[in-house]
Amino acid sequence: MKFKGVTLNARTAVYLCLAVAFLIPLGMDPDGYLLRIVSMVVLFAAMAQAWNIVGGLANQLSLGHAAFFGLGAYTSTLLFIRQGISPWAGMLAGGVVAAVAMLLLSIPLFRLRGHYFALATLAFAEVLKIIAIHFADLTEGPTGITIPYGEPSFANFQFESNTSYYVVIVALFAVVSLIFWKLSTGAMGFRLRAIRENEQAAEVSGIDTYRIKLGTSMVSAFTMGMCGTVYAQFTYFFDPESIFSMTGISVRVALICIIGGMGRLWGPLIGACILIPLDEIAVNTMSDVAGLGPFVTSVILIAAIIYEPRGLISAWERLRRRAQKKHAAQSGQAAGAV
């Protein structure tokens, strides 16, 4: 494509479209339903990207990332309510708490392999849920926590307009994605790829598999904790059931990655763009019959996985390869004609 002397290749064109797509919601009605859904899509993309760091890059499938999400939300919110500490600082504190929790959980876990990680993280999130319900003195118990609405200010992480929250959420997605990208390229990318493909071969090639898996899982927990803080500030309310939810958070972020493309930079965004609106439509249009909504979404997701087991991002790549081949054939013909 040639435009005023500037040659646009397909890649830059896609990135430009993407940038424009991220800008469109800035023009949406700040109090509207649509902006809220778009914000949720990007927030879940950020959460799924956090999961992707350990699930996609280190191939350690967590089914309990709600644990780290909830730890982030509780840490920053309690620090804010009880101590008046800015949620921005609380977000980092929440990340640290989540990362340390992952460290303590992982020390026994990485000696065991495979499914143990999934089961242990799942159990860990459930245990935290029960703790949050029963230790009401600390956590306000099953009723949950409402963040008091004070003077909107940047320091308080409270904004007048939902558009500002959208900007924060996009920035969060960008940060988590940047971390993912940094880890997936260069020497670290090779180490992680080796671990993913064959751990024993990686070990004898001088790769410290234990420490690298531990490190990536802690980074993943840290970023998931940050997402928890942003979620809490965005919704102003959460309770143990929703924040530590297995279906609502843990399985959902894993599914988003699997549908979109595990271990791929754009997988979480693609997955979130499909799964979150799908759930929303199911809730809004099919709630008359109990269980119909989840049934329909499950069928669609199963179909997607059967059709594209390596994520919908590979469907996109196939399309692109086909286009390239066609292009090459055409230019070949053109050259032949001359």
């Binding site: 000696r111 070990e203 090639s205 420490r211």
Partner: protein
């Protein structure tokens, strides 16, 4: 001595697998370790590479004490390890698999030369240089694993049952390669279930039994030993 192991106790948790094992390998020498299943042969090799979680005693290699060293630093010193069971990176090409073997020495300028040497040793790998390693035959995968270990230019090569589960023709091929590697001056510590083959290739050997070193000697001595003949050579 290139490798000198003294009173090594090693294992994975509370109960040790190896009990006071001592063993030495001289530069350029081929030593073979015999033993029944679960005797601790793989654990011995994994301890030298620093992969087993618990190690006590002394493992001296080329002037370095390895016993407290992290496994990631050991290949750099010149130890190549071919683990039991044909472990390749299945979705990487043959060439990339070989590169991964030199990951700890990725700034080394002689890598291309070494890759060429390995391709000469295993011409089959040159033919399949860009094929994904996971799609190779068992014998070819074993050659990739051996080639990968050689890419770091080791002084000592640890081979864990390289011929296990391979067709007889391929077993011969792999063993010819081991002989060639040994001739090129690399010391080899060879674990084999096929004792007859192992004692052909090695100059010395050791027998491990339930984590204890019960016998040591030259290959000829071991081959003549009535216990070895009965237990491992089936004579």
């Amino acid at each position: 001595m290139l490798l000198e192991i003294k009173d090594l106790c090693a294992g994975y948790g509370a109960a040790p697998v190896l009990h006071n094992v001592s063993l030495s390998v001289d530069s350029g020498e081929t030593v073979s370790v015999l033993g029944a299943n679960t005797a601790g042969k793989s654990t011995l090799l994994r301890s030298i590479s620093g992969i087993t979680p618990v190690r006590r005693g002394s493992i001296k290699f080329d002037g370095h004490e390895l016993i407290d060293m992290n496994g990631k630093d050991i290949p750099k010193l010149g130890i190549g390890h071919v683990p039991e069971g044909r472990h390749v990176f299945p979705k990487m090409s043959v060439v990339d698999n070989l590169w991964m073997g030199a990951f700890c020495k990725r700034k080394d300028k002689k890598l291309a030369e070494r890759m060429d040497g390995i391709m000469q040793m295993f011409p089959r790998l040159r033919e399949r240089a860009s094929q994904l390693a996971g799609t190779l035959s068992g014998g070819e995968q074993q050659m990739v694993a051996i080639g990968r270990a050689l890419m770091s230019n080791p002084k000592l090569l640890l081979l864990d049952e390289p011929s296990h589960g391979l067709a007889p023709v391929v077993v011969d091929e792999v063993h010819e390669a081991i002989v060639r590697i040994a001739k090129s001056g690399v010391a080899v510590l060879l674990v084999e279930q096929n004792a007859a083959l192992a004692l052909q290739v090695a100059s010395r050997g050791m027998v491990l039994q339930s984590g204890h070193a019960v016998l040591e000697g030259t290959a000829a001595e071991l081959a003549a030993n009535p216990d070895v003949r009965k237990a491992y050579l089936g004579i």
